[in-house]
Each structure stands twice: as C-alpha cells, then as structure tokens.
C-alpha cells in the first residue's frame, strides 16, 4: 500500500470524567514516505498525540480534532471501521515488545495470525511468509527462530519480532512509540537503521516518539517538540535542533551532556508541570528566563519563524538570534572530532 499524507488538526486529548486536557491543539502533517518525530519529556503528551491518531487511547481518555489520512477521515470512525484501518493501513509498535507478543505462542504463529486476520496468504503459504518477514527485520536463521517463544529472544530481537508483526499487513504508516528506549545503544542503532531501511524500501511513512533528541535528530525529517501537552516548536529536525526558536528547546539542548562539551550544564530550573495544572498563559513561563507578563496572561499561539517552522514563544527572536550560532558551532566542532 502506498503512503498518503496524514493531516492532523487541533488534536485534543482529555480525561472523560473531569475534562482535564492532557493534549491541546496539536496539528501536524506527515508527508508520504517521510518521518516525523515527537520529542519531549515525561507526560508532555507526545505518546497520547500519536495514539489519538488511531484512537488507541488508554481507557478514560477521549480525543477530539480532525485526523485525515489521504482521502479518508479517521476521526469519528466507529470501532469496527477503525479496526480495518489499524494494522492494515496504520500500524503501531511500543516500547515494551513483550506486551505485544503472546508468551504462549511461537512467534512464527503469531505473525501468521496477523497475516491471516488481514486476509493475507492462505493457510499453507502463511508460515513461509512469516519466516520471510522475520528475515526482513534482520533475524538470523529465521526458519528456526519462528519456532521459538518470545521469552527465548533478547530485548532487541523481540522488538524486531514486534516490527515484523506490525509490518505483516503492509501498513503505509508506522507509529513507533519509544521503540528503543528499553534497549542498549548498540541494539538501538540496529532498530533505528531497520526502521529507516523499511521506510525507504516500502515508501512507508514513520511517526517516531522519543525522549532522546539524538534519536529524533538522526531518524526524523520533521520534528515537533512537546511540552505539557502542547507543541512548543515544530519544523525540519535539522533546523529545530541546531538553532532552536523556543526557550524550552534551547534550554534542553543546553542541559544535555554532549560530546565535546565540558563547560557546565545549564539545567532548566523547576520541573515539568502536570498538564492538568496549567494556567491561561504559556505552560513553560514559570521555568522560563524570558517570561514576561504577556506570557502569563493569555495563550501563546504558534508563531511563524521561517518557512515550515513555528514556535510557541512571544520572544522567539531572542532565542533564535542568541542560541543559533553557538549551538551550530558546537555541533560542527564535535563532527570534526
């Protein structure tokens, strides 16, 4: 299946019982065959935003907003209609692959089940197709491994099996929610390369959620930086991460230990607020060194920074001007080393 454009507008996720809003006003496009990253800290809403795209929210939460995939409107579909989309058109993988795998089932059989559920190859051909999928995701000796149970695989191998299952019905958009956060870096690099290769070979689109700026920077074309349920900055990943236009992004970059940096880290004071306790104004204002009265009194819209780039900061020009050259020099220097 060829990828189409995903268009999300004004996505909102709230708690059904009391109406608290956990995600507010998230809008983004994913171009066919491209990769889009959500980066942010705990409870920034990055994961909920992605789950809301295919209405896979935890119990007790509800989403509103408009989700369009190609010519098809996904928001407002019934659950029966949604299950035809999930897996076949849009598929998802999670941080913990063990949760996605049935411990009692041989992994080959689990993949066969997915293939059959989506009307894939017939009963006789399906096991062979499952072995081919395992081979595609880089599992050695796939015919033998298809006979094993999930507990007999290492963490990285399990994530590969979960990816094989997610790809079984040939989706054109894959949503990966922190797929490598539980894995060692060497294994992580293998999984990220695999996702990148599959995307290029199949023309699949990818939405990647991560708390790791390095992962997003390497794996994504576009990025949305999230804070307390809102997108604070959005644009091409290479530009946003090299010359941020929001004090939160700039602050995070200054607080991360990076290669070739020995000067003291500059932490962001305070800690991440609960998205439910945010006042009328900018959610980051209480921790922001640039905050002024206007930031606190009313909501800050996403402002245009450059073509395809926005920032939810009234004083973005000061961040952009001050931080850009220093950050970029540092990046280049570390490449030379």
């Amino acid at each position: 299946m060829t990828a189409e454009q995903l268009k999300v507008r004004d996505l909102e996720v709230s708690v059904r019982s009391d109406g608290r809003r956990l995600v507010r006003g998230v809008s983004f496009d994913v171009q066919p065959g491209s990769s889009f990253g959500f980066v942010g800290e705990t409870s920034s809403g990055k994961s909920l935003s992605c789950r809301a795209v295919i209405s896979l929210l935890p119990a007790g939460l509800q989403a509103s907003g408009d989700v369009q995939y190609g010519s098809r409107r996904l928001s407002g579909l019934t659950s029966r209609e949604l299950s035809a989309v999930r897996g076949r058109t849009i598929s998802m993988i999670f941080q913990d692959p063990l949760a996605a795998l049935n411990p009692m089932m041989r992994v080959g059989d689990a993949i066969v089940q997915v293939l059959r559920a989506h009307g894939g190859p017939d009963r006789r051909a399906a096991p062979g197709a499952a072995v081919e999928l395992l081979e595609r995701v880089g599992i050695d000796d796939p015919a033998r491994r298809a006979q094993l149970h999930p507990h007999e695989f290492s963490g990285g191998m399990r994530q590969r099996v979960a990816i094989a299952m997610a790809l079984a019905a040939r989706p054109s958009l894959l949503i990966a929610d922190e797929p490598t956060s539980a894995l060692d870096v060497v294994v992580q690099a293998g999984i990220l390369n695999l996702l990148d290769r599959l995307r290029r070979e199949d023309g699949m689109s990818l939405i990647l959620v991560s708390h790791d700026f390095g992962v997003i920077s390497g794996a994504c074309d576009q990025v949305a930086v999230m804070y307390a349920g809102q997108v604070v900055e959005q644009g091409p990943a290479s530009q946003v991460l090299s010359s941020p236009a929001h004090p939160y992004t700039a602050g995070l970059l200054a607080s991360l230990p990076q290669p070739g940096r020995s000067r003291p880290l500059v932490p962001i004071p305070g800690s991440v607020p609960d998205p439910a306790d945010i006042g009328a104004g900018c959610a980051f204002a209480p921790r922001c060194h640039l905050a002024q009265e206007a930031c606190l009194s009313e909501p800050v819209p996403l402002l245009d920074v450059a073509a395809g780039r926005t920032s939810r900061c009234l004083r973005w020009t000061e961040v952009y001007r001050q931080e850009a050259p220093a950050g970029m020099d540092e990046g280049r220097r570390s490449v030379v080393e």
Partner: protein
C-alpha cells in the same frame, strides 16, 4: 578515615569475581545459552582515589551493577578483595560489616523505590543520623535542614513525603540521605537515568559541586557515555563482567577497544546522521564459555588467542589501559618499529 596516607586509594578491589549459582530445573534456559556460565564479574580490579569520580560505563549484562553491589558489600564476592581505606571488607561479618557499610553509601536508579512512601523526607534523613549515632539527638533537626539545603531542597520541606516531590527532588533526597551517613565513598548506580533531561542536569551539577566542594569520592555507573564524560575524571568500560578499557576523561581519550568503539559509534548525537554501526547482536553474551574474551563473537579484530585466553588490562599509553589481544599486538608492533 584514620589511616588515609596520601595516595592511598579510598576504595579499591582486586581480582573481584562474582559467580551466581546457575539455576536448574525450573526456568529452562534459552536454547542459545549454554551450560558453562561465565561469572557476572571476573577478575575486576579498580581503584578510586580520594576526591575522585570514577565512571563505570556499561550496557545491560556488563556486570556494572554487580560491581556496585560487591563494592558496597550488599553482595558477597565469590573471590577477590575489596578494601576501604586499606581495610579488607570481604571478610567482615555482623556488627563490623554494618559499621563499615555506613562509609559506603549507594544511590540507586529509582528514588521512588528506594524511599519509604510513608516516611517524611526529614524523618528519612533523621533516621540515618540516629541509627549511626552520628549526632546528639538535639542536633539532628539542624543537620537535617542543612543536608536538605546542601542538595537544593528548601529545609522547610522536611515534613513532605516522597510522593509530593518530583523525580529530581526525590533523587536529591536519596543523595542527601546517602550524605547523612558521612560516607567515604558514594556509589551511584544509574542515578540520573530515570530523570527527565531538564532535571538530569540539576542532579549532575549537584554531584559535580559536591565532589568539588566537599571532596566526595564517587563511583558513578551509567550506560550514558556523555554523562560520564561530564562527571568523571576517569572511566572504566565494562563488558561481559570484565573491565575492557580504562582511561582518563580529559582530554577525551582515543578509545582503543573494539567494543568501546562500537558502543561510541552507536550513540545517537544531535545533528549527526544515524550510526550505521548497530548490529543485530545483543550485549547479553550467549554461548560464551567461561574463558576467552567476552567480546570475541562480535569483534571485527578477533584473533585465535581470543577464543582461549582472557586478555589482561595492559597500558597502551600513560593511564590508558586496554584488555584486547589485537590492540596489544598493535602496540607491541608500534614499539618494535
């Protein structure tokens, strides 16, 4: 603290080995695994100078946590010696062991799991002072306040409970609790890994300041090379229960061991393309016999010798040790020519 001659390491271990008992019967091992199980730690020797921060870099299964547990005598080593300011610990029992434990304090990854949820943070600190009889009872509240102040928590918060603090706040309390015992050495096992990026820098700077201002000696265990580069004066890299390389942090060393190189190449860096390195292999060694280089199965520079003989740590340049037959051969060749 009495017999602390100049230059004597505050904490050191020699040929430390920890062999866990092999489970049998229930819990069948994976087919990939074999009977002869390598010890979790094998012949590890490290030393920590007073006022120094030694970093231990390793992935899951490298033995880094076992090392911390043996150094703090939470786990009794199978063989080898652990010396605190020159005194052997591994032969101590009962009251003597408890007395010595005060002097080696551990900070764990998850502060929520290591703090009692029903105890206010002030009471948690006071308990340490009381148990170790470090102060007159009347002086305890004052000391609690100064400990909280030292880690950047308002002393007025002494009555709060762990659930009322953020993740970073809880980790500060864990650090204050460790400091309350007036330890000779602080062992931090992935102490910032569970924290959000913006908060992680606060805790890293706190530890750095404590070392610089109070001369705290510290072993900091992490899987994050950038964190260690920032915090540690010296870093030991572990793989498969062995220290495979050790070097001073500044200037950034020219890492020699093929494993260290693979690991560093896989770390995602902001502004750089994805590492192509990442292998499908995992750091959990499977099918490894009890002898030979633990990295040999994945090593691009493998020699025949690596199969039979564990390479010893040897100096390649001043204060830079590498345990690799191939590197040793190259060094020897370099010296000969």
């Amino acid at each position: 603290m009495s017999s602390d001659a100049a230059g004597q390491p505050v904490l050191e271990c020699r040929n430390l080995t920890k062999q866990y008992h092999h489970r049998s019967g229930r819990g069948r091992l994976a087919r990939d695994q074999i009977e002869a199980v390598r010890p979790a730690l094998l012949d590890v020797s490290i030393s920590l100078a007073r006022g120094e921060c030694l970093g231990i870099l390793g992935e899951s299964g490298s033995g880094k946590t076992t090392l911390v547990r043996c150094l703090s005598m939470l786990e009794r080593p199978t063989a080898g010696s652990v010396r605190l300011t020159g005194h052997e610990l591994s032969s101590l029992h009962g009251r003597e062991l408890r007395r010595v434990r005060r002097r080696v304090q551990v900070v764990f990854q998850d502060p929520f799991a290591s703090l009692n949820p029903r105890q206010s943070i002030g009471a948690a600190l006071a308990e340490v002072l009381r148990v170790h009889k470090l102060l007159a009872v009347a002086a305890i509240p004052g000391r609690v306040a100064s400990l909280l102040d030292q880690v950047g928590i308002p002393p007025g918060w002494a009555g709060r409970y762990p659930s009322e603090l953020s993740g970073g706040g809880r980790q500060r309390v864990s650090i204050a609790r460790a400091l309350a015992a007036q330890p000779d050495v602080l062992l931090a096992d992935e102490a910032v890994s569970a924290l959000d990026a913006s908060v992680q820098a606060q805790v890293l700077n706190l530890l750095r300041d404590l070392r610089e201002q109070t001369g705290l000696s510290m072993i900091f265990v992490s899987h994050n090379v950038h964190v260690l580069q920032y915090l540690a004066q010296r870093t030991a890299v572990m793989f498969g229960g062995r220290v495979v390389e050790e070097a001073v942090s500044q200037p950034p060393p020219d890492w020699q061991h093929p494993y260290t190189r693979e690991l560093l190449a896989a770390v995602p860096v902001i502004g750089q393309p994805l590492a192509r390195a990442g292998s499908a292999a995992t750091s959990v060694r499977s099918g490894l016999g009890p002898t030979g280089c633990p990295y040999r199965d994945r090593c691009p520079q493998r020699l025949d010798r690596c199969e039979r003989q564990d390479p010893e740590l040897a100096e390649v340049t001043e204060a830079h040790l590498v345990a690799c037959h191939a590197v040793a051969a190259q060094t020897a060749k370099g010296l000969a020519s």
